[in-house]
């Protein structure tokens, strides 16, 4: 039976899911906007982040929230390592439109199989950070999900402010808008690229870590994340950070509500249908190519 309580609970769940889509998507759009490349291994950094958390909690007995922090930091450095070793040599060489795509697809396959080899195919579970449910006005919400909402909001807003106000953010925007001029005013474009890539991977890891207690970790979890991430990015407009966030929340909310009306197997269909409709009406996405 569809009650108001059910709708609100689903809306809140949708918000949580939407935050995750937003987090994954903003990493992708960050790389596109700054480096003009698409990272097809983004889902795997998501997955690796999840596994770092699992590893920290299960083998080192680290409390989950600290484990999450460690996972995010480790994934950042892994991203930096990958960028310096594999992406960097391709920069400024002919074929930049294609080469990072090819390389990151290769990385994706490599990481998936590496995980499979190391961790095996069984889904691994990660304990909840916070147990328990809170009930307000008859609406029940798990503390874990409230935590997810809170952390994502803080990180996304913090990042937005960082891009707009901090000196590094200025360098990033300059590189994204006019790379040569950025070099002329003293921005080290190569360093910006490396740090941006690392930050993007860190954000993916954050999303995975927050979701891990709910969805568990497995070598292929990156696939769904990447797919939904790309849909969100294109929906919000390639290159628009704000667009990625809004589109993510929109997508998550609509998906969750639709679970009430249809059954849960159809929620992906709903996502794709929305995607097709928006792109037909407005091909450049909700916020076009508006930059940061």
């Amino acid at each position: 039976m569809i009650t108001g309580t059910l709708v609100i609970e689903q809306l809140l769940n949708g918000l949580v899911l939407g935050c995750m889509y937003a987090a994954v998507a903003s990493g992708l759009t960050l790389i596109w906007g700054t480096m003009k490349m698409l990272n097809f291994a983004h889902g795997e950094f998501f997955m690796i982040g999840g596994y770092f958390l699992y590893f920290a909690v299960t083998f080192f007995g680290i409390p989950p929230i600290l484990g999450l922090l460690i996972a995010v930091i480790l994934t950042y450095f892994l991203g930096v390592l990958v960028e310096r070793s594999v992406i960097h040599p391709l920069l400024d060489k002919p074929g930049w439109e294609i080469s990072p795509l090819v390389v990151t697809v290769g990385l994706s396959i490599f990481f998936q199989n590496l995980s499979l080899k190391i961790f095996g195919e069984r889904f691994k579970s990660v304990p909840y950070f916070l147990d328990g449910i809170v009930e307000i006005f008859g609406i029940r919400m798990a503390y874990q999900r409230i935590f997810i909402l809170f952390v994502t909001a803080v990180v996304m807003i913090g990042f937005w402010v960082f891009i707009k106000k901090a000196k590094f953010g200025l360098g990033l925007r300059a590189t994204a808008q006019e790379r040569d001029a950025a070099t002329l005013i003293g921005v080290n474009v190569k360093k910006i690229y490396t740090i941006t890539f690392g930050l993007s991977c860190a954000m993916a890891a954050l999303a995975a870590g927050l979701l891990a207690p709910i969805f568990s970790v497995n070598p292929w979890m990156g696939h769904a994340a990447l797919l939904k991430g790309f849909i969100t990015v294109v929906l919000g407009g390639l290159g628009s950070f704000g667009g990625a966030i809004l589109a993510g929340i929109l997508l998550g909310t609509i998906e969750s509500i639709s679970v009430i009306v249809f059954s849960s197997e159809w929620k992906d269909v709903v996502a794709f249908v929305i995607f097709i409709i928006v792109l037909t009406i407005r091909p450049s996405g909700l916020f076009g190519t508006k930059e940061w």
């Binding site: 000196k167 200025l170 360098g171 925007r173 300059a174 808008q177 006019e178 040569d180 001029a181 070099t183 002329l184 005013i185 003293g186 921005v187 080290n188 474009v189 508006k290 930059e291 940061w292």
Partner: protein, 234 residues
Amino acid sequence: MLTLNDLDVFYGDAQALWNVTMELRQREIVTLLGSNGAGKTTTLKTVSGLLHPRKGQIRFGDVRLDVVEPSKIVTYGIAHVPEGRKLFPNMTVADNLLAGAYNTESWADRFKTIETIFQIFPVLQVRKKQLAGTLSGGEQQMVAIGRALMSKPSLLMLDEPSLGLAPKMVETIFNVLVDINKKGTTILLIEQNAQIALQIADRGYVMETGKISLEGKAAELMENEHVKKAYLGL
């Protein structure tokens, strides 16, 4: 102050500059003339580090510039106003200007420096919250020059500042350049508009198909038959 010594520059395997040798002395205005594709922009880009010479050296004072990391060149006091302005289109005029002080000691007092830029180009103060991509050509040129001045350079390099601008605007801008030079900044000016460039320059070089073909005092160049025919339309 700045010497280019026997430079060969390539784009991939295509040679663009042959044995280019030039020098600038402190407080001079030197102009580099030539038609489209002659190699003037290539020369400037090589000084800025956006391109690397395959042969030859660039010296700024006693520093060898061609081996310096490109993003550090501005810290030596060299500012480059690129061809086509290359403003940051989705930043405001104010942000574009402030960005000019990014990597130098002038970052700390950038809010003071921007006031002096507004004094040089008052219209920019009016437009300071406007997105740079929406400005007119002349205003964009002012922002580009202003952005370069924010790093308080000792050498200002401009690539075709008169391009696409109405004559009145060109006059305004060139008056500003003369003023900046009087206050102590050395200027290297690339121009297709030889007429106006030679009016404000002390010395000039003429570049043709990647080689320096002529050099001399501005007054001499203005009287040179070849220059008159090819570049002054006389």
